[in-house]
Symmetry: C2
Subunit: 344 residues, 2 copies
DNA sequence: ACCTCGACGTTATACGTAACACTTCGGCAG
DNA sequence: CTGCCGAAGTGTTACGTATAACGTCGAGGT
């Protein structure tokens, strides 16, 4: 069929399709674009579509982007994909994006230790919008400066700058955890908090203190650690070794820290949950890999990604973005039990 | 929000920079492109650079790609980012890519349950090459059909089609594990294998059987399970409940399965490592979150990504890709101990 | 005085697409 | 018959960039 003389089978263009179908390039664009329903007769359209399939035509995205000024690509800024939570957020965002012929490209956020490269230096020109997660305030400013549509995930809704927000009801999750433990008779708490300074963790601390304050007779100590098992273990171990009344429950900002707390307990000869209750946050796969399994708060990570992408698409379409918070759910497992002091 | 679009300062183009600097657009391209060192006098170049900074000029990537026919973007095909190993592969690949002004876009591989969308239907036009990991054979064919430069990670090096390979010395890792356990006196083994049918797991089984065969008096049973803790636990529990001589060591294809094996042991009242040794593979964060910590094989995941990207860049430059395998390392921790039968 | 040549720029062009503006043509009301 | 309309296409243009091809000008060789 092809009378092409080129030795290498060059990628066919819309003009090649036009030639094969006996129409003009404009008509090919009209047909394959899918818009302009009535502009081309069905018989012609059919011929064009067949030619396109025949030649294996794929539109050149670069040319399309250049023409339209849009790329159908969003940037997702996350701290690290090795954190399962963010990997799931990505999965959710990418899945919804794919349904709308959108792509998602990733950039690890500058969380202090991140790469110094400006994500927009190379990417900004090719982006339609940005979805950013758990940013520190300064990094956030750089995002606003890019004057691209912006959706913030799990971030301070009162933050400056025009941005849609998709938030988890973190405070409610922490409240549920606290109520659960208070109901089990616990009164002396250790809060194993993340050393990361973002809204999502600040909210945890606030909600915990609020809920404990309401209980009246509860006390809490706070120690902070980076988000990894070893650091969590060390911090918990030191805190538990302090003289005086030992806490009966450790509330962790994260399942990873909770895993550290469990290891600390075991090293000190404390049995979980009989002598020490431990709670996590996130409900990662890790939560059910441990023994005992972690009582934790399930966060709908994929949904966060989906809703984030949804919001971005809405903004790009000029529609208002849905703003509601996503519900979270306490999952009670084996790492929490009635306080030993209450039973005594 | 702002609904005004036109009065907003449009992104400056190279022509705007040219006007500001009092030169032609071509000169701007010459200066900012960085190639053609001697073509423009330093004083003019300086003026251009200043104008570019002044206006906040960013080259339009779509236009550049259209002109050059290349996108400086690679596709990384991985089964799932929620698996920490692949998240780390991505991190390695993305880091090296960034150093070369390359981007990496992800696509979850069609591993049977994956999305039905053809990654190339939307992406192929905008890609310079593909790095693919742990593919099933049929999915692999689709990749070859795309006639893009292809690098395979951790895949059968004897596979068909022209592709560079970056492989881990999986067989050596499994050999080390086996020798370690044999040295501890173990003779009855259970192989908790992945249900996924890829080269990387086939090699594990082969190496395990080879090493045990060399020992002469060792026996092994194999059970397979999907790569998640629950499935691993179930499979291990069933296998351990079988009447007859119980294995004294479980060799797992993966840390995740090993976590399942540990849970199974605990459910059956078997103490790890005293009554049952368990080994993993990958050295994920999970390995040190468990108690006892897992004896496992450390895989340089980031290096796999880096070397993969390196190989792709080499191919694109017409250089030969470095082909050597990456070494792995046995990490002995608390989940393995001398066989109880040997001590008896 | 003539030619050459290198240094420094500029002009022009093509990449592949989407969509605006235009043509062509048969039908149909006035 | 004229004028108008809608249907079905086509011609053309612009998006922003990189680079091939083409000036221009003064220095240096012969």
């Amino acid at each position: 069929m092809t009378s092409a003389q080129q030795p290498v089978p060059a990628r066919p263009t819309s003009r090649d399709v036009a030639r094969a179908a006996g129409v003009s390039q404009a008509t090919v664009s009209l047909v394959l674009g899918g818009k302009w329903p009535g502009r081309v007769s069905e018989v012609t359209a059919q011929r064009v579509r067949e030619a396109a399939v025949e030649l294996g035509y794929r539109p050149n995205l670069a040319a399309r982007s250049l023409r339209l000024g849009r790329t159908r690509t969003a940037l997702l800024v996350v701290p690290a994909l090795t954190n399962e939570f963010f990997a799931r957020v990505y999965a959710g965002a990418a899945a919804l994006a794919a349904e709308h012929d959108f792509g998602v490209v990733l950039y690890p956020s500058p969380d202090g230790t991140g790469p110094a490269r400006d994500p927009f230096a190379s990417a900004r020109a090719a982006l339609d919008g940005v979805i950013a997660s758990s940013m520190a305030a300064d990094a956030l400013d750089a995002l606003h400066g890019a004057d691209l549509p912006l959706v913030m995930l799990d971030s301070d809704p009162s933050g400056t700058g025009p941005a849609a927000h998709v938030n988890l009801d973190i405070a409610d999750g922490m409240r549920q955890v606290t109520d659960h433990l208070l109901g089990l008779g616990h009164r002396r708490f250790l809060h194993l908090a993340s050393a990361v300074d973002t809204w999502t963790f600040a909210v945890r601390a606030e909600a915990l203190h609020d809920a404990l304050g309401a209980a009246g007779d509860a006390t809490v100590r706070t120690v902070r650690a980076p988000l990894d098992v070893g650091a969590g273990r060390e911090a918990a171990e030191q805190a538990l070794a302090v003289a005086g009344e030992r806490p009966t429950a450790i509330v962790c900002d994260d399942d990873i820290l909770a895993a550290g707390a469990c290891k600390a307990a075991r090293r000190l000869g404390l049995r979980v949950p009989d002598e020490l209750s431990v709670t996590g946050f996130d409900d990662l796969a890790l939560a059910t890999a441990l023994e005992p399994e972690l009582t934790t708060v399930r966060l709908p990570a994929e949904q966060v990604g989906e809703r984030g992408m949804e919001a971005l698409l809405a903004v790009l379409d000029g529609r208002p973005a849905e703003q509601g918070g996503l519900p979270v759910e306490l999952v009670v497992r084996g790492s929490t039990a009635p306080s030993p002091t209450a039973r005594a």
